[in-house]
Point group: C2
């Protein structure tokens, strides 16, 4: 009888990169591009310096690169910092069925280990795909009881994904991989109580680090449990009141759970997204300007009024939880990046004025990611836009062009336009890169300035 | 209303070392001596090299000392390695009400941070006392549901103790200390499924490391939750089906939970201990030699036959789970250190022969740590020894002399007699040491040889 752990280990170490479909690898490449955009943007946050200062005090050999900072340190430190950056703005990807953010714990582990080993871009992509798949599948096995109990599933299940990615790149054999999962699995951690603090993005950071450590230890012969999933005191049994391990392995390698992963086009809660979509579509209609608008009326799913009905947020963070603000910036700026959720933007007179003219009524028949928005102009003209699935849902993924805009917007503050072009080009052709380290060296920002 | 977190933070940062009673500080000093003995012994285990090799590959500044190895590395790495060594032989201390092993996650954090900061011995002792107290009290709050669910309470609650010790030494203010507890608490990890593997002692190692990391981050301004204990999604609510937070704070600073912590005199499961005590007392009776013994009969608590009835273990590890073996070595060697549980000892003809003459009958009225043993000699003489509380229980702690013997036995394999004497002297006067780093430098073993 082959155990769940053995099946996963086999999948992790034995799936040839060539056997992973091009469309799947491309999706993971898009995740890498998205992660790089978010990390480069977030690297200007002062909190990164708190991490880097600890690294400086403790020292380490420069084996891998913290994105956006130009800082090179150990694989574990790098995985920690990049996992942190990837989730800092809550602007990473989401596996819809579990709300896991699989890129943040997994890709940084793959990048750090790949840079250390001189792995190719294709190897890093394949390891990321497999790691993200393992992460999401273990998430499916414990969902929803695990998250409902208060665990931050990205942090907990993240360790299984990061150790898969790191262990595969490190060339663990099957027995070592099983032990590595045991070593990583018993480090699964992260409670939702810390949401709203820096400790939240620390979760995927630590998960990435734990996976790297576990893989390195297992390679050296360190042992963990062989039954971290099936055992009576294993992770699912201990950290979830109910679970179904068949979800971890049924159709493994055939049906990819990461097909249900999607990138976010807007830097705010997902319930706002269809409304922003509508505004982005309506803003280009003839005669539509903030001044010309009499009112904007939306029909929305009940959750919108429950979660994000906040007409006049005072500060940036608050504005992320305002559908009125999200719609207003969608109309004025045609975007909802972090720049649209600053303190300044929250109190911008044009935005404030527009928010006063926006209202929503609940339509119980409306899907969670759907809306219908009607703009009425002062001159009597009206435009109506229907959105069936918000951009960034599995049914309506961001286009490559939209992803490029996101990348250019987030990275453009920190990198020259020429550098952005080079990096984007390299990332889109990541499968051809002979050495991931060369790509990582491009993420180094000259003269990084810390945002305050 | 002062929160639980604030009360604990206040206790952690504001309790003057001088206000901690001499007897309590001495008990913690005994824990340090015990930990040093165990670490020095365990440092010859080949598995330590797996950890050290990862440290070598990743590099770090030599800020602190891995006991027994002479290896100097970062504070986090050192805390990880010493926490690992302290628990590797399961020969560390036990807080009886919760089965937490509080020294292993806490003292290594205090030592690593103290060495980095140049703290005095007294400061390290006070930080250890306070860290161990916080660890045990949070353990009391979630006990027994938490451990019963499958969590390794030493790993999980360990993070609260290690961050308390590290944060106090680092001079965190109250607000920082609350955040540090939030950062550390959301890293609580470790499931019992990995018992029997190297990942078990990794738990206190990681807990020690997590506390050091959290303290360093909080000092830099990193934030965690202020409600990691009281919050709806905090550690107790998420990781325990029931808990009582009043146990974390009632009588804090007056009634010390670590009074219920005790050192182990024997390197095996605690149910054997009263039986070994009896044999150590009986072996010096007139005419008692292995050859002269007709039989040995014990009256025991039912758990003995349930857990450790194994007449002829074949290998060392198995022999730890044999009351017959434990009694036999107690009689022949007068000790039950790791040397009494080797493969060679398990098959020693004298021990094997004696095990055949040992039996036990259940006495339902017997306490768990009590026994009555009668030896009958071939010449008809009999001796009976009653043990009311096994040595190493809170009611019958190891004497200083017994602790010295344990230290000399465990450290004596690795250090010269002169070095053992110097080190013991320095540890007994640890409260007078101006710089903990000087003491740590004495733990460096010249020409460390790895045991295979």
């Amino acid at each position: 009888m082959v155990t769940t752990e053995e099946q996963l280990a086999q999948f992790i170490i034995d799936t040839p990169a060539q056997s992973i479909s091009g469309s799947l690898l491309k999706e993971v490449k898009r995740c890498v591009i998205n992660l790089m955009a978010v990390c480069i943007y977030s690297a200007r946050d002062p909190s990164l310096d708190i991490l880097l200062n600890v690294f400086r005090v403790e020292g380490a050999k420069p084996k891998a690169t913290v994105v956006g900072s130009g800082f090179r340190t150990s694989m574990q430190n790098t995985a920690l910092a990049n996992g942190y950056l990837a989730h800092l703005e809550d602007y990473d990807d989401t596996h819809f069925p579990t709300v896991i953010h699989p890129s943040a714990p997994v890709i940084p582990a793959a990048l750090a280990m790949g840079e250390y080993l001189g792995s190719s871009g294709q190897e890093v992509l394949a390891a990321s795909a497999i790691g993200m798949e393992v992460c999401c599948r273990i998430g499916m096995a414990v969902h929803p009881a695990h998250y409902d109990a208060g665990w931050h599933i990205t942090g907990t299940c993240g360790v299984f994904g990061s150790v898969a990615a790191a262990g595969r790149l490190l060339g663990l054999d099957k027995g070592q991989m099983v032990h590595a999962m045991g070593i990583a699995g018993t480090q699964a951690a992260g409670v939702r109580e810390v949401f709203g603090s820096m400790a939240k993005p620390l979760h995927p950071g630590r998960a990435a680090q734990s996976g790297v450590l576990a893989a390195l230890l297992a390679k050296g012969g360190f042992t963990g449990s062989k039954t971290i999933l099936e055992g009576r005191r294993g992770f699912p049994a201990v950290a979830s009141t109910s679970y179904d391990l068949t979800k971890a392995t049924t159709g493994l390698g055939q049906d990819w759970e990461i097909r249900m992963n999607a990138l976010k086009p807007y830097s705010c809660g997902v319930v706002n997204h269809c409304l922003i979509d509508a505004m982005v579509a309506l803003r280009i209609k003839d005669g539509v300007t903030p001044q010309a608008i009499k009112n904007i009326k939306a029909r929305v799913h009940p959750l919108v009024l429950e979660l994000v009905d906040r007409r006049h947020p005072k500060v940036g963070l608050e504005s992320k939880f305002s559908f009125q603000h999200s719609m207003a910036v969608g109309l004025v700026d045609g975007a909802a990046h972090p720049a649209q959720y600053t303190d300044m933007k929250a109190t911008d007179p044009v935005i404030v004025g527009l928010r006063d003219r926006i209202s929503a009524t609940v339509d119980a028949g409306m899907a969670e990611d759907a809306t219908q928005v009607t703009i009425t102009l002062n001159d009597g003209r009206t435009y109506t836009q229907e959105v069936l699935h918000a951009t960034g849902s599995p049914e309506n993924p961001m286009t490559d062009a939209q992803l490029e805009v996101k990348f250019r917007t987030l990275a453009g503050d920190a990198l020259s336009k020429a550098r952005v072009n080079t990096l984007l080009e390299e990332l889109w052709t990541l499968d051809d890169a002979p050495d991931i380290g060369q790509v990582m060296s491009r993420t180094k920002i000259r003269g990084r300035t810390v945002r305050n």
